[in-house]
C-alpha cells in the first residue's frame, strides 16, 4: 500500500519539480477509507510516503472528487499555496468488497435485509432502465464500447476487449446487473498537485484550472429517493456550473470523466448532469468524449474514483492522454460519487 502511494507521489513530484522534502507543499489532503483498508486511521499508514511527517495532512474519507473539492478550499483559503492530494485504496485486501459496503447500511432497517452497494445499484438500475426502456442489449453495447476505450488506456485495470457474446455469457449478479456491468475489484492510487495561480505558473507551463465545484448529498434510505434519477447530482452540477458560468452543459465540455462503477450509471449521470436530455437516445449517439479512459467501469477503486476521473480530465486538458486523447480538449467535467446508488455527488469543472 505504501509502495503504491509512493509511486504516484514520486510521479507528480518529478512532473512538477515540487520539493517534497522542503517547504513547498503546504498541506497534504489524503483520500482513503478505513473500512476498505480495514484499518483505523487509514492515513496513518501513508503519512511518510505522502511527505507529511511533521506536516499538515488531512484525510477526506469520501470519494476522491471530494478531496479535490477540499484541496481547492485549502488553497483558496490562503492557508497553502501548494497542496498535494493523494488517494489510495486496495480493494483486493478484503476478498469480497460487498462485505465492506454492506456495513454502510444502518444496523436496524437496511442491513438485515442484505443490502450492499451492489444490491442498491441493482435497484437503481432497475428503476432507471425501466423508466427509459433501456435494454440489456443497450447496456451490453455500452460496456463493449467502453471496454474498447479502456484498451487504449495503459492505466486502466481491465483492458481485455469484450464482445456482446461475452457480455451475454456474463452471469447475472442482481437483475438487471450482470458481472460485466460492475467494475472489477481494483487497487490503485492517485496523486495530484493543486496550487495557487502564482505557484501554478511556476510549477508547470500547462496548468489546468479548476473553475467549477459542486457537491450535494441525497437521502440515505433508498425508498426515500426516486432511484430513476438523482436529485443530488442535479444540485451538485447546478452549483459547479454556476461557479464556472456554464449555461449550456450539453455543449460545454470536450471531455467528461464520470464515475461509473456500474454501467447503467454512465447514461444516468450524463442525463442528470444535463449532458443529454434523453439518456436512451444518448446511448446510440457518439460517446467518444464520455469516459475516454474507459471510466470507473474499467476498474478504479471506488474510494479514489472521482480523484482518478479528475486526473484523467487533467491529462486530457494537458494533451497528455496518449492514445485516448480527445484532440484539442479545452474544458472538462470530472465527477465522483459516494454512497449507495449515488447518494452523494461531486462535480469538478476544469479548463485550460
Amino acid at each position: 500500500m505504501q509502495g503504491m502511494c509512493w509511486e504516484v507521489v514520486q510521479h507528480v513530484v518529478r512532473a512538477t519539480g515540487v520539493d517534497l522534502a522542503g517547504e513547498d507543499v503546504g498541506a497534504v489532503v489524503s483520500n482513503s477509507d478505513d473500512f476498505f483498508d480495514c484499518r483505523t486511521i487509514s492515513d496513518s499508514a501513508i503519512t511518510d510516503v505522502v511527505g507529511a511527517h511533521f506536516k499538515c495532512e488531512e484525510k477526506v474519507a469520501q470519494d476522491g472528487a471530494q478531496a479535490v473539492y477540499y484541496g481547492y478550499a485549502n488553497v483558496a483559503s490562503g492557508s497553502s499555496d501548494v497542496v498535494l492530494v493523494a488517494g489510495h485504496s486496495k480493494e483486493s485486501q478484503v476478498g469480497d468488497r460487498n462485505l465492506i459496503t454492506h456495513a454502510a447500511f444502518d444496523p436496524f432497517y437496511t442491513r438485515p435485509v442484505g443490502l450492499d452497494y451492489l444490491a442498491a445499484a441493482a435497484l437503481q438500475a432497475d428503476a432507471f432502465l425501466r423508466r427509459f426502456g433501456i435494454t440489456d442489449a443497450d447496456l451490453a453495447r455500452l460496456v463493449c464500447q467502453q471496454r474498447a476505450k479502456a484498451a487504449r488506456n495503459p492505466l486502466a485495470n481491465e483492458r481485455t476487449p469484450l464482445s456482446p457474446a461475452d457480455v451475454a455469457a456474463s452471469p447475472m449478479l442482481a437483475d438487471p446487473l450482470r458481472e460485466a456491468y460492475v467494475y472489477p475489484p481494483s487497487d490503485g492510487a492517485v496523486a495530484m498537485i493543486l496550487a495557487s495561480e502564482d505557484r501554478a505558473r511556476h510549477l508547470t507551463d500547462k496548468p489546468v484550472w479548476i473553475t467549477g465545484l459542486g457537491s450535494s448529498i441525497d437521502s440515505f434510505f433508498l425508498g426515500d429517493r426516486d432511484l430513476s434519477e438523482s436529485a443530488s447530482l442535479r444540485q451538485a452540477a447546478g452549483r459547479a456550473y454556476r461557479m464556472a458560468n456554464i449555461g449550456q452543459p450539453r455543449t460545454a465540455f470536450d471531455v467528461c470523466e464520470l464515475s461509473d462503477p456500474y454501467a447503467h450509471q454512465l447514461p444516468l449521470w450524463a442525463w442528470q448532469l444535463g449532458l443529454t436530455e434523453d439518456p436512451r437516445q444518448w446511448l446510440s449517439g457518439d460517446l467518444a468524449r464520455f469516459n475516454p479512459s474507459g471510466g470507473s467501469l474499467a476498474g478504479t477503486p471506488q474510494v479514489v474514483s472521482g480523484l482518478a476521473r479528475t486526473a484523467e480530465a487533467v491529462l486530457q486538458l494537458r494533451n497528455e492522454a496518449g492514445e485516448r486523447q480527445i484532440p484539442g480538449a479545452k474544458r472538462a467535467l470530472a465527477h465522483g460519487t459516494t454512497g449507495p446508488a449515488g447518494q452523494q455527488h461531486c462535480v469538478v469543472v476544469l479548463e485550460t
Binding site: P107, V113, L123, R130, P171, M172
Partner: protein, 150 residues
C-alpha cells in the same frame, strides 16, 4: 534493495465486536413489529407525509416526527425490485431471492425488503404484496420474515 519478488500475501482476518442501539424511536417501531405484528410510519405534522422506516426528524426541515405514529400496510405495492443471485454471508435468504422496494399502504416512502413465494420471474412493479410475520419475533425488521404476493 528489495525486489518485486520479495512481496507476498498474508491471509488474515479483521474482526471487532459491536453493539448497536436502535434508540427510542427505532425501538418503538421494532417492538411494535414483535409484539403487535404491526408496521408503523411517522407522519409529518405539516405536510402529512408518512415515512417508513421511522425517523426522529424530517432531514429536510428538522420537524420532529415522533408525535404521530400511523399504522401502515401490512399490504403494499412493489415500486422497484431486483433478484439477488450472488451469495453473501449476511443475506437473509438463500439465493436467488427477490429484493424489492415496497410502498406500504398508507406510507409515502418505500422500504426495502425480501419477497418470496412466487416465481421470481413474475416479480413486477405494481405487484401487490403482504407482510408475512415470523413466528419467532425478536424486534428486528426480519420479524417481517418476507413479503408475499397477495
Amino acid at each position: 534493495m528489495a525486489a518485486e519478488s520479495d512481496a507476498f500475501v498474508v491471509e488474515g482476518t479483521f474482526a471487532l465486536p459491536y453493539n448497536y442501539f436502535a434508540g427510542r424511536v427505532g425501538s418503538t417501531w421494532l417492538v411494535a413489529l414483535r409484539d403487535e405484528q404491526k408496521i408503523y410510519g411517522v407522519r409529518h405534522p405539516q405536510t402529512g407525509k408518512v415515512f417508513v422506516p421511522p425517523r426522529q426528524v424530517d432531514e429536510k426541515d428538522f420537524t420532529d416526527l415522533t408525535g404521530d405514529w400511523v399504522e401502515v400496510g401490512p399490504e403494499g405495492r412493489v415500486t422497484g425490485f431486483t433478484v439477488i443471485r450472488y451469495r453473501e454471508p449476511y443475506q437473509p435468504l438463500p439465493v436467488p431471492f427477490g429484493l424489492a422496494l415496497i410502498q406500504l399502504d398508507g406510507a409515502d416512502t418505500s422500504i426495502v425488503h425480501v419477497v418470496r413465494g412466487e416465481d421470481l420471474g413474475q416479480l413486477s412493479v405494481g405487484r401487490r404484496v403482504r407482510a408475512v410475520f415470523a413466528r419467532e419475533r425478536k424486534a428486528t425488521i426480519l420479524d417481517i420474515a418476507h413479503f408475499a404476493p397477495v
